[in-house]
């Protein structure tokens, strides 16, 4: 059951200060409203995964592992592989993260990452079919949040995209009903590169890439996923506040601009 969250523990006075700065288009770490924190992306961290990437976004640290497994397709898409995104807010990443099955925040995170990848048709799932209706590759994208300083959606999606770009799938064919692996590997059939840009509304100001303290003050969050053709492929409003109509359209415009830079960064890290 979804429930009004407890108020953030940040001191009121610090919250006031963040709001005050925002009203002057300024931020606690000196960034402009449209600035991202430094993004670093390393790939291949986890050798046992088919693909992996480690992303830092300021102090936020994310690890993504991609595993391929054989399994059955969904009955209504017998010719397609399966994409499964899972996210864990590990308890080391923040003192408020709890043990147990994923809560609504982890589920929303996984579903927004999934939406970006799926709706932009980032992976050509048809090419993951080995035997129609029977055996396909299942792509497990596991997002592991290790240190939480805000904007998990963007960091996680960048990591997932980088890990997928680096992912190698084993070549195989069916002989006499049995799977035979050739021993060689090839990249996943990546067709699109969705890049979300996340905004936080503090007072009347929209900023991008909020850090955790900014998230604790923001009234509303808006994530806009943009694909390689500058089309919007995913949107998600979060938080208990509202948006003006013009804020939404302005955010879409800004996201289209911003996503290009970040995409370049991801593509470089993953080649």
């Amino acid at each position: 059951m979804s429930m009004t969250p407890q108020a953030a523990p940040t001191a009121k006075i610090e919250q006031e200060w963040i709001r005050d700065l925002a009203s002057k288009n300024r931020r606690i770490d000196g960034r402009a409203p449209s600035d991202y924190r430094e993004i670093t992306i390393e790939t291949g961290t986890i050798e046992k995964a088919n693909g992996s990437a480690r992303v830092t976004l300021g102090k936020t640290k994310i690890l993504v592992g991609v595993k391929l497994e054989l399994g059955a397709p969904f009955p209504d898409t017998p010719n397609e592989g399966v994409l499964t995104v899972n996210a864990e807010l590990t308890p080391i990443a923040h003192s408020s993260f709890e043990l147990g099955p994923p809560g609504e925040n982890a589920i929303e995170l996984a579903r927004v990452v999934d939406r970006n990848l799926r709706e932009s048709k980032a992976i050509d799932l048809k090419e993951l079919c080995i035997e129609p209706g029977k055996r396909v590759f299942i792509v497990f994208v596991d997002v592991y949040v290790l240190d939480h300083d805000g904007n998990l959606v963007d960091a996680s999606t960048y990591g997932a995209l980088a890990a997928l770009l680096k992912c190698r799938m084993p070549e195989c064919e069916i002989r006499d009903g049995e799977i035979v692996y050739s021993g060689s590997f090839r990249p996943l059939p990546m067709r699109n590169y969705p890049v979300p840009v996340t905004f936080a509304k503090i007072g009347r100001t929209l900023i991008v890439d909020p850090c955790l303290k900014e998230e604790e003050v923001m009234s509303t969050r808006l994530t806009i996923g943009v694909d390689k053709e500058d089309c919007v492929c995913a949107m998600q409003k979060g938080g208990m506040g509202t948006l003006e109509v013009h804020e939404v359209t302005a955010a879409v415009e800004a996201a289209i601009l911003k996503s290009g830079e970040i995409r370049k960064l991801i593509m470089e890290a993953a080649c």
Binding site: M1, T4, T242
Partner: protein, 253 residues
């Protein structure tokens, strides 16, 4: 199992259920249809059938969940096992958990929880039959159920979905269009305050398409606002004795 239809819009511009691209499905609304909840409402929108019950403000358990300066709002969106083409497993799905959250966040801005400190307001959205756009329909009915429960609100929340099907921007996608179309975008607003309380999108829209779709959604919400007001008016008439419709029917007026 459903099969993918060959075309979603025919050569005359009609959709599979006979609608024009910009046409919304008919909506029936009914307020106050259950006896036990403090407020309730029922919405039928095409084949969507959703019933919402609100309990509260009431005491909260366990106590450590209390918020000292406002009511806690809880929301659960739930699909009945028989609501979908394939039977839905009764265990809560990730989809239901996410939708519960976005519905709560779409309604929070309209409620005035500071009037009810240390209490909880529970919103239960039961999707009895699902045919596309149920989160929006759920929000529309939940607004009414909150009002029926007498919860102080800044404004009603109205919601609808728009999207893209075979290259055209269309209103209010039903299930097959949602599944095989190119984009789906649920939007909720407080129409008289002109504030967006929900926006999500799945699919692919150019910036221009997005803006046309968004405009269509805002228009749709405003029209639904009128239907909501009428439904509340009918409910008031019942309560004040002006009229006496059959109480408790799942059929809307």
């Amino acid at each position: 199992m459903q099969k993918a239809p060959e075309r979603l819009i025919d050569e005359n511009g009609f959709r599979l259920d006979g609608r024009r691209p910009e046409e919304f499905r008919p909506i029936k609304l009914q307020v106050g249809i259950l006896d036990n909840p403090d407020g309730s409402a029922f919405i039928e929108q095409g084949k969507n059938k959703i019933i919402v019950g609100v309990y509260g403000p009431r005491e909260i358990h366990p106590k450590h969940m209390v918020l000292p300066d406002r009511a806690v709002i809880r929301c659960r969106y739930r699909m009945a096992p028989f609501s979908t083409e394939e039977r839905k497993n009764p265990a809560p799905s990730r989809r239901e958990i996410e939708i519960s959250k976005v519905i709560r966040e779409a309604l929070e801005p309209a409620v005035m929880p500071e009037y009810y400190p240390r209490t909880v307001i529970d919103i239960f959205v039961e999707a009895l039959q699902c045919d596309g756009g149920t989160r929006c329909a759920g929000i529309v009915a939940a607004s009414l159920a909150l009002a029926d429960a007498g919860i102080s609100m800044r404004e009603l929340v109205s919601a609808c979905s728009v999207g893209k099907v075979e290259g055209q921007i269309v209103a209010d996608l039903f299930d097959l269009e949602d599944k095989y179309g190119e984009a789906d975008m649920p939007v909720a607003i407080m129409p008289n305050l002109n504030k967006v309380t929900l926006i999500q999108m799945d699919g692919k829209l150019s910036r221009d398409e997005f803006e046309r779709a968004f405009e269509m959604a805002l228009d749709g919400c405003r029209k639904i606002r009128n239907l909501q007001a009428e439904a509340l008016k009918r409910r008031c008439e019942v309560l004040t004795g002006t009229e006496m419709p059959e109480k408790g029917s799942l059929e809307a007026h």
